[in-house]
């Protein structure tokens, strides 16, 4: 019998296909993500290491991009979105290695794009303090990307957990969780952000907390709805009849089958969170100077650069953040379209 078992081994697959298995994918994602996170959240403690750790992230991001592109090639909307998002991820990873000026060093204030001043050619000009716009724009994607994704991920863990509990266990669990969610949902999002950040004080970590309070209830509702639908399926019934624990059923039987809509919603929500962070920073409640960020660039320019001549200081960060959000939204759209087709 053992020979028969051996012959039924999984068929050999090409490298790219083998990389698309869940485990290599998670590895690649971590390889890409952890250095970015370390750079943004703990950059000051890393010293000279802070740039070197980014090196393995670059090939990981390229491989992930190729894999995702291949998987989604039938939807041009999704691939366009993917391209936009990975453009910024690659920029964030490779910013230390690009031939850029120091984004925090004032050189020549109010230099227009495509002009030379003090022997330096400024492609995108400089801002009111004379810092290079190109360097600031490219460096500026790091913080919003990292905090946006982290905040969304934390909100997702919390929301999914409560959604599973409310949907699968029903009864009092559902009543209580849903009620608490409804309380938070009755606050307009921006008002909730302002109240929470006003209470906790502005910082990246507090943004994560605020986003969790603002987004987790909505995520919980979605996951709860999916759970209510999936738990009527016979395979859940089968798991119950063999005496599986509720935790096993929620994590192994329910969650993997809810992933489609969850991924689509997560892409959309990444967009919302990016908007929220940029807007909060613009309002003075989010990320703080001096490191570059698109919201900060807008905030600083909006006070002083209200002339058509200097409008590039506003337009450039505005378009940058829009392109990132557009990327997330197009990805969500394309994924939804593909999931409906099958």
């Amino acid at each position: 019998m053992s020979t028969a078992v051996a012959t039924a081994a999984p068929p050999r697959t090409p490298l790219l296909q083998r990389l698309s298995q869940p485990r290599p994918l998670i590895l690649l994602l971590l390889l890409m993500w952890l250095p970015l996170m370390a750079q943004v959240m703990a950059g000051n403690y890393l010293g000279p290491l802070r740039n070197i750790i980014m090196l393995p992230g670059i090939p990981a991001a390229v491989i992930l991009y190729v894999l995702a592109f291949r998987a989604w090639r039938e939807s041009w909307v999704a691939t366009l979105g993917l391209t936009l998002v990975f453009f910024w991820i690659l920029v964030a990873l490779s910013a230390p290695f690009l031939p850029l000026l120091d984004p925090n060093k004032p050189i020549a204030p109010f230099t227009l794009p495509f002009t030379e001043k003090r022997d330096v050619f400024f492609w995108l000009g400089t801002d009111l303090k004379g810092r290079d716009m190109l360097a600031r724009t490219l460096w500026g994607c790091q913080r919003v990307l990292v905090w946006g994704v982290t905040a969304t991920a934390v909100a997702y863990v919390v929301g999914t957990l409560f959604g599973l509990l409310a949907g699968y266990l029903s009864g009092w669990w559902d009543e209580i969780i849903s009620f608490v969610a409804n309380v938070f949902l009755s606050f307009p999002v921006m008002v909730l952000f302002i109240v929470i950040l006003n209470y906790l004080g502005p910082s990246g970590f507090n943004i994560v907390i605020a986003v969790t309070f603002a987004s987790a209830p909505a995520i919980m509702r979605i996951v709860r709805g999916l759970t209510l639908d999936i738990k009527t399926r016979d395979y859940v019934f089968a798991a119950q009849t063999r005496g599986e624990s509720p935790l096993y059923i929620m994590l192994v039987e329910l969650l993997p089958n809810a992933r489609g809509p969850i991924i689509v919603d997560a892409c959309l929500r990444l967009g919302y969170t990016t908007v929220a962070i940029t807007t909060l920073t613009f309002l003075g409640l989010g990320l703080q100077p001096p490191d570059p960020d698109w919201g900060l660039m807008i905030k600083e320019a909006a006070k002083t650069a209200m002339l058509f001549k200097f409008s590039y200081m506003l337009i450039i960060p505005a378009l940058s953040v829009s392109s990132l959000i557009l990327g997330f939204n197009l990805m969500a759209d394309g994924l939804r379209e593909m999931s409906l087709r099958d």
């Binding site: 309380v183 606050f187 807008i298 209200m306 058509f308 337009i315 953040v321 829009s322 939204n329």
Partner: protein, 316 residues
């Protein structure tokens, strides 16, 4: 059905109580209380305020009585229209808030007046012929416009129409009295950002209805296409967008903050932000409470509307 509405009303009342309680707890912390004391007693630094003065102030304000009694007092004051005093602007919060809400109301009215027809028409046109060039164009435009955050839309519109062409004023402070030209850019910004979302919802709802079997029945009954759309499809397809539109009120309260701040329009959102940055606690508390009331009310309206529009719920 009446029972359903009653249940929702009770639920909403409960949510209001809990939400106000949370607000009270947040703003009842010592840090915030101290902030208020400093503002009221004229000092600008914590060190300038002696512990004795602070305790006296607490007693004078009735803030040293037990917690739940304070909460009851606070609610009691609010129901009589007393929201406390803004120390930044040195006026009562009630009238101040009312005035700002009126301004935001004007803004919201024009946003809805423009957004509803645009988004419904575009959504229905797209959903009617799913997958057609018409649908794909409308869908792409709506993804595109919703992807540009309000702040970016505001910048782009200002740069083009105010700084570039000079047709409209860049700021909407209305210092010289009401001027409709100053209202155009804020309204346009909010409409541009929001219509796409509602249009996409309408499209999805319409597309779903158009593939339903009862539309097939209607077509195969020999009813003219236009009548199929008007009589059979629209009624069913507009139920979902209705609720979405009412719920946009909640979203608008978020959106107005950044738009009002950017254009310096004296509305509710700008008031809330300035108060938050200045530490004007009573104003933040009152504004948040009002926002929650508006949001909860819009949810009730949306729920009741959905129930009334949908005969499957109405008659069961």
């Amino acid at each position: 059905m009446l029972g359903l509405i009653l249940r929702r009303l009770v639920q909403m009342a409960l949510i209001m109580v809990v939400a106000s309680f949370i607000l009270f707890v947040i703003f009842d912390t010592p840090a915030f209380k101290k902030k208020i004391a400093i503002a009221e007693l004229g000092g600008f630094a914590v060190s300038a305020l002696s512990e004795e003065d602070y305790q006296n102030w607490l007693e004078q304000k009735g803030l040293n009585v037990p917690f739940f009694q304070r909460y009851a007092n606070w609610i009691g004051n609010i129901t009589t229209g007393d929201f406390g005093k803004s120390f930044e602007k040195n006026t009562a919060v009630g009238p101040l808030l009312l005035d700002r809400l009126k301004n935001t109301g004007i803004l919201a009215f024009w946003v809805f007046a423009l957004m509803i027809p645009i988004s419904l028409v575009l959504g229905v046109l797209a959903g009617m012929k799913e997958g057609s060039a018409q649908d794909r164009t409308i869908s792409f435009i709506s993804v595109f416009t919703t992807s540009i955050p309000e702040i970016a839309t505001a910048i782009i519109l200002t740069v083009i129409f105010a700084l570039g062409l000079g047709w409209l004023p860049a700021k909407s402070a209305m210092t010289q009295g009401f001027d409709w030209r100053q209202l155009v850019l804020p309204v346009l910004t909010l409409v541009t950002y929001d219509f796409g979302y509602v249009a996409r919802m309408t499209r999805a709802s319409m597309a779903e209805v158009m593939t339903s079997q009862y539309i097939r029945t209607a077509v195969l009954k020999g009813i003219p296409y236009r009548q199929v759309i008007m009589k059979h499809a629209l009624r069913n397809a507009l139920i979902a967008p209705f609720t979405v539109i009412v719920l946009q009120l909640n979203w608008l309260l978020s959106g107005v903050v950044v738009v009002e701040v950017f254009f310096q329009y004296d509305g509710f959102g700008k008031l809330l932000l300035e108060a938050a940055l200045f530490g004007d606690v009573y104003v933040v508390q009152a504004a948040t409470l009002v926002a929650v009331i508006v949001a909860v009310l819009s949810q009730i309206i949306s729920d009741i509307g959905y129930t009334l529009l949908n005969p499957r719920i109405r008659f069961s």
